[in-house]
Symmetry: C2
Subunit: 665 residues, 2 copies
Amino acid sequence: MTSEAPFSPIPTRDLESAIKAVRFLSVDAVEKAQSGHPGTPMGLAGIAVELFVNQLRHQPKDPSWPARDRFVLSCGHASMLLYSILHLSGYDVTLDDLRDFRQWGSRTPGHPEVGHTPGVETTTGPLGQGIGNAVGLALASKMSEAQLGDKLGKLAAYDVFCICSDGDVMEGVAYEAASIAGHLKLGNLIVIYDDNHITIDGDTSIAFTEDVPARFAAMGWHVQRVDGHDGDALRAAIAEARRSELPSLIAARTKIGIGSPGKEGKSAAHGAPLGAEEVKKTKEAAGWPVEPTFYVPEEAKRPFVTRQKDLDAAYDAWKKAVSSLEPSERAKLEAALSVTVPSLPFEELLAAGGKAAAATRVISGKVQQVVAAKVPNLVGGAADLTSSVKVGISGSGSVSASDYSGRNIHFGIREHGMGAVLNGLALSGRYIPFGSTFLIFTDYMRPSMRLAALMKQRVIYVMTHDSVFLGEDGATHQPIEHLWSLRMIPGLDVVRPADAAECAWAWTHAVERQDGPTVIVASRQDLPVLGRKTTSKATFDKGAYVLSDDANPELVLIATGSEVGVAEEAATILRKSGRRIRVVSMPCVDLFLRQSESDREAILPKGVRRATFELGVTLPWAAIAGSDGILIGLDDFGASAPMERLAEEYKVTPAHVAARIQSAL
Amino acid sequence: MTSEAPFSPIPTRDLESAIKAVRFLSVDAVEKAQSGHPGTPMGLAGIAVELFVNQLRHQPKDPSWPARDRFVLSCGHASMLLYSILHLSGYDVTLDDLRDFRQWGSRTPGHPEVGHTPGVETTTGPLGQGIGNAVGLALASKMSEAQLGDKLGKLAAYDVFCICSDGDVMEGVAYEAASIAGHLKLGNLIVIYDDNHITIDGDTSIAFTEDVPARFAAMGWHVQRVDGHDGDALRAAIAEARRSELPSLIAARTKIGIGSPGKEGKSAAHGAPLGAEEVKKTKEAAGWPVEPTFYVPEEAKRPFVTRQKDLDAAYDAWKKAVSSLEPSERAKLEAALSVTVPSLPFEELLAAGGKAAAATRVISGKVQQVVAAKVPNLVGGAADLTSSVKVGISGSGSVSASDYSGRNIHFGIREHGMGAVLNGLALSGRYIPFGSTFLIFTDYMRPSMRLAALMKQRVIYVMTHDSVFLGEDGATHQPIEHLWSLRMIPGLDVVRPADAAECAWAWTHAVERQDGPTVIVASRQDLPVLGRKTTSKATFDKGAYVLSDDANPELVLIATGSEVGVAEEAATILRKSGRRIRVVSMPCVDLFLRQSESDREAILPKGVRRATFELGVTLPWAAIAGSDGILIGLDDFGASAPMERLAEEYKVTPAHVAARIQSAL
């Protein structure tokens, strides 16, 4: 970390009451809810108190202070640990909130949710994700520090502390993210691993016997082992970790449910209330009053009260340093510490895409260059497919351990780690991150994408090679169910552009959207230029629009992405035989479905038969095409062959599509 | 491995021509297809020849010999390596097949596909999966060896060899699976890691600087480093690996595209044809004729011809040993080496489920005990949630490094690793494997589930806590889009039973199905006993059936799983106000959709309005309910609260459902 502890420590003996208060607030809340996880908060209370009292440079009165140190509880099931310590630290989490643990509408849901509870930095629960978010948060600090340069960078830098469990370190996503952190030497990251030897199934030895610190050392981490209940030893280890230029893992041996006469060190302490009798015994053994519940003595509050003065001083000093900057420097700092998106110049994006037939992956890459020039906070990269997915920001370097100032990130062949790190970058509040791979591999990173949606984070995914028409790589690489299974994730917008104009709009939508992530889906193969009358941004803002039309149409043919051009050709064939066809391009089904009924009817008029055409599963299209809809797509796995052959075999050439519609009409 | 090399080695100098043949067959095939990956087969040719000539105990004339050693090419993009070596080894992969590389209907698709090409043991391409499959294959050998005991076990045991790439070892799924292998001390597994320092984006150092062997050592592996182009050193390393009781990693330093004057050691050799001029130069540099292409000199064939005699002898000896067994022993061995499912006693399964209201996770667990008693090849476990998901096979032990004879496997908190290992267990041909976690965490293992479907493997997933009604754990744990996004995977059947009878049927379907995987989805909460007239297996075999009915119904209310009981109550309310309602339970939508139109109409009569009710995304239900369908479900993320409160807030109590239908009618 190469940073000093920010304050002179409050000694371990003065933290005892606070530690007990965290334990019993957690125990009482789980007991009252009759639901939750008491044992881990009990075991981790000492570590949380040490972090929040002696280590974190934060400001409970201003949880969004951009320079605050970040704390991530990766083992989100230990949520009461976080809620208890937030309460004691002075965040707006009251005793009543704790009493409302796991109740409808409370600030204290079963797992911590960012944006919902002050002081919660990320939504955790699905294991491993928090470690990835912490890596992303640490990377964001390193990147903005480097991008701002020496003087301003100091005002941007923060440290990241993460507590994680056995389950977290067993998850592949955490391995991938930790490998990235080691590679990039994120010295501002300290992960404390709760080495309690217990999982739901019992002792970890039944499934997990690896040497975790040695594994992290192999990934380039600084590692230590410590007794997690020895406050002095823990503080010394954190000091040592701060001196290292590498990310640090501190394996802290703890006892789950510590102090519970019947459940200490047992998996019974993990996921169920201790029970009234056991709570009584545990409190008695600790010299803690059995009643009242949710008891917080003055002695427990004292360390936090004492520390608040230092926190105020640090916060005020930062504010003062910022306000004493030259206006241009201050503006530069502020622009780096938050994301403000200028209105994007649609015409310029459009021009960048070019006017020739091209693959949308190529066009998207060109459009992205303009976006990147206008939005300096746009950073990201690919999971080792940069040349295939076309996402590099030209004119900017790659982030590396020796230079974090670039905007291109090489995530390696680690899609899931990439997804979790992207979330951390977004949660820093400083970046609009993008990540890219082949559409098929969204399967590898789906849990992180879902969390981006749940957390309403502006993350952009560029997913190419979007259909069987990637051709020869075959069934293992050809998406079939992916478009629809991504559209099913609440809050995630899937945009599948058909040409340069739709690519320009896709990027505009993804960047300007403030309430969630967007997937931009692109083709491997070249697509034709669509002849449409207008290409203003408004053309696309309903998620669908009429591309070509006949008076009094008898069929609306709806297509997306690479199928739009084929649909147009099919319509031309049908029109030649006298059919009256409206062709609708629907680049964003999610957005179209959010429109008013009348807006939707303007595009899909009632009483006119509909056909849909997309190279993937057809079933959900029935919701748009109706009971008599003609659904053209692919409902089985693909195959390895050149795309022209596949088009013939799957009967999805313009002639085949026209014939299928003709026969259905 | 603690096994000897099966044959005296053919010396390195006698393998040179074979190695060159593998290289140039691969180069020629990629060149002819103008698509594919030449560089990796070139770099790995020596390793493949060593394995297939000197190490593998296999039988090209009988690719399904149950005691054969298994070879897994985890880096499936190097498929031409495998096709070339299979051709030279005498598998039914002809030169014409190689000429047809990546063409429609050929035996040589872009990535290897099991069941499609003789000698291919698993479908690879999505990185990391092959390592997981290899772990599962190795575990299957260890388990059947232990279950059969000393004498018969020897006839069942095989070794597993795997070649993997940088990309494979960077993937989290491979980490998880490797951690399992280390924990279980799978000494019959040797993984050769192609340490070529090159990925698509360039040198691995841009994203990957960890010490891979040290990491594997930390996971309990035996590790070595070797020059991958030094045949003698490689052979010595394999001999050393065979002496270890741990799984072995051999990091083999190779040069991608070796011998190509312009592309050796460069990422340009990775994913595109070398180009005619470069092919010419490379062949000339190797002293290989430029023409004809697909050239195989006698010298290249010789090692394989020589070895075939040993392979025949080993194969015949095994056959003889088996045929000389006592009939009962032989039957026992044969039963262990293949999967034959007896017709399951439906009544017994039904009785096991009990007649009380209970959660389907509990009922499923009881039914599974009967299935396990009838199907000894059923093995599996959970990702550290055994007590929550109720899947342990009682009366059987847990697999451990000291005793592989149990049928319960503790996968640890490694859903994706579990998925890949389950595939390997199924691919062994010896087991029907099951794996279990919460439904939400299918997102973590989706790539493996998709591959199970693509490979048509009989894997059973038991996924519990299947809706927002898991309650207090909140949005991070509550599935919304999962049922439908699983149903979208071609070939994967999703069964969501509503009670004991449907649980009995779910298990019957999953076990008796021979062409793919099944997800059994179960509730956390107790469900009522449904009052239906008949509970024979045939009741459920269409995927849906009429649970209760009125004469001349005006509405069909379709529900699944935990919503069926609520639908029945809602129907009772509606009937009291004079409505004529048919309630349909649809435990398997996939199966229902595969029925004939008339069978479907018998259940969902034409012209009768339909409502659907399932606690998840509603949109795809339109395909079943039709344009005027009433779709009741949840299209946004859930929340943390007791389930009773959630039912009120989301308006999905019987009264609310009845009211919503009433107002829509």
